[in-house]
Symmetry: C2
Subunit: 330 residues, 2 copies
């Protein structure tokens, strides 16, 4: 096994976020559960966009945010995801490259436009997300660059992308490439509805020994395990993967590595917008893992990166998180 | 003359702003004068975008911001401007309509994409603008809806749009439509470089009696008049138009209407981002003018609207400026 050129190569949805203020009445009229994420089709995306107020667009996507976070932390990151050859695809590619992330996936045919996530921000700062996956759902296995995956210490996969068939096969192929090259594979469960749709598939992946590092938040690990209580859920999953990372928002995070448990408290921070917290926690933990840092330190790197991104609007870091981590870890 | 259905119909560039942080070194390397606005072509837009950091996109354009401001102040506004049938064109149309502005200009052929303004924000909060005018430059006179212009109390024109030939002819036709319907015509000089390019044309427009309300900032009125000193410049221009409005940033604004002069101080406010200050000042003044308010009150409406927009990032109002004006004017 040669030395890794990249710390992390992430595969996920390539999405542009469209963010607008909304009132509770609009959510009620649309029958939207506050704070939820749902998938919508092109017609629904057009209709709902028409009801939204003036918006601003920024690049997003869960695993893409993580790749951006790894780069911001001083790591070497790559991202694989499908955009269309259109203006939003250009915006996505520009932004992730501007953050120092290697992004070489060719744009698709253009039959389906670049994905977008319509985000309604209510006065209580909660975000309700409506995602049109567009081109993102059509990432083919043929778009993978095997040498790029082999060159990364960790392959990181986004559970959201397990829904559509093409990227699911692409991710399975990527796992095989990474494992054959002796690399680690990390997976994030993304959300509890996603688990409900794919519980058997996810459990199969885990029990086939394909996953080295599993990320889940409290709801997700409960959903995956079928347990109602957090500690029971951790106990049920921890021996099935080499590394389990369970995040709990303001209650911090727990990691179990080969039977050894470590915990970290949440960093004290004024919460402005929680979008991207899990994505950035994963970025910090993964970079620490790729660099062989102790479990406690990986958790701290995750907590520091997450704290930075929730202290402002938007899902990508703004402050110098590399300096923050160096400062706090000494 | 029938009663006006709209208070203001504005004609201007239909632009999407692309905003990214930049350091002074980038400005120096690019040879950019801080705080300036320059026009760039498609190739330069692509090249410079490639050097910019991760960005966010919002709708902009000077006269479009003014139309948005009139609507936010409780007025009835329309906007005329050329976008392309592309994603950024959709974003522009969505945002201005979401703010309550009537926007019915058909998208162009798509040969040229929607305009964008690459805005580099340096750590001192100054903005350096690089505008690719794209489809905006191709607004044809045939895209005008004469009935819409006849229905507005005031036609408001953006000097920036005087540069390219097609929209210049469209604006000249719009002036004729408005004047034939007995409406008022307002014009903003946009920037001093724009005046340098078109001083003769602007002076001709004014001296032909085509302009009822002329907006200029300190640099612009000096450039137009050729006077080095503000008061001398005002004195040189004030008798050539029925209403002259000269804005002076933190020094407030001066208006002269048929020989009678009024002044207003700037509102006390913590300045975050000055983009849109002039556009919103025009919105407040124009709505007051359309509603027959006294000169002093029109100036106050302008100052209050301008103060709101400079108290946050972005060139369009966020607070309830209608309520702010009602509150402050009693």
């Amino acid at each position: 096994m040669t030395e890794a050129r990249l710390d992390v190569i992430a595969i996920g949805n390539a999405i542009v976020d469209v963010i607008a203020a909304a009132d509770d009445r609009l959510l009620a009229e649309e029958g939207l559960a506050k704070g939820s994420m749902r998938l919508i089709d092109a017609a629904e995306a057009t209709r709902l966009y028409g009801r939204m107020g003036a918006a601003r667009e920024t690049s997003g996507g869960s695993a893409a945010n993580t790749a951006a976070g790894v780069a911001a932390l001083g790591g070497r990151a790559g991202f694989i995801g499908q955009v269309a050859p259109d203006q939003l695809g250009d915006v996505f590619a520009h932004d992730i490259r501007a953050l120092g992330v290697e992004f070489t996936t060719p744009p698709g045919t253009g039959d389906v436009p670049t994905a977008r996530c319509l985000i309604l921000v209510t006065p209580d700062a909660q975000r309700t997300m409506n995602t049109f996956l567009g081109a993102s759902q059509h990432l083919p296995a043929s778009a993978l660059d095997a040498a790029q995956i082999e060159a990364a210490a960790i392959l990181y996969l986004e559970g959201y992308l397990w829904d559509p068939e093409e990227p699911r096969w692409a991710m399975i192929k990527a796992i095989d490439i990474a494992r054959a090259a002796g690399r680690r594979v990390a997976f994030t469960l993304s959300d509890s509805f996603c688990i409900a749709r794919h519980r058997d598939g996810f459990n199969q992946l885990i029990d086939d020994g394909k996953i080295d590092i599993l990320f889940a938040n409290e709801e997700e690990i409960k959903s995956l395990s079928g347990e109602d209580e957090f500690e029971a859920a951790v106990a049920a999953v921890q021996d099935r993967v080499p590394v389990l990372v369970a995040t709990r928002s303001e209650k911090g995070a727990v990691a179990v590595e080969n039977g050894r448990r470590a915990e970290v408290a949440a960093e004290p921070v004024r919460v402005v917008d929680t979008t991207g917290a899990g994505d950035l926690f994963a970025a910090g933990f993964l970079l620490g893992h790729a660099r062989g840092r102790p479990l406690e330190e990986r958790l701290r790197m995750g907590a520091i990166a997450a704290a930075e991104v929730i202290s402002h609007y938007g899902a990508r870091p703004e402050a110098d998180v590399k300096a923050l981590v160096a400062d706090k870890l000494g």
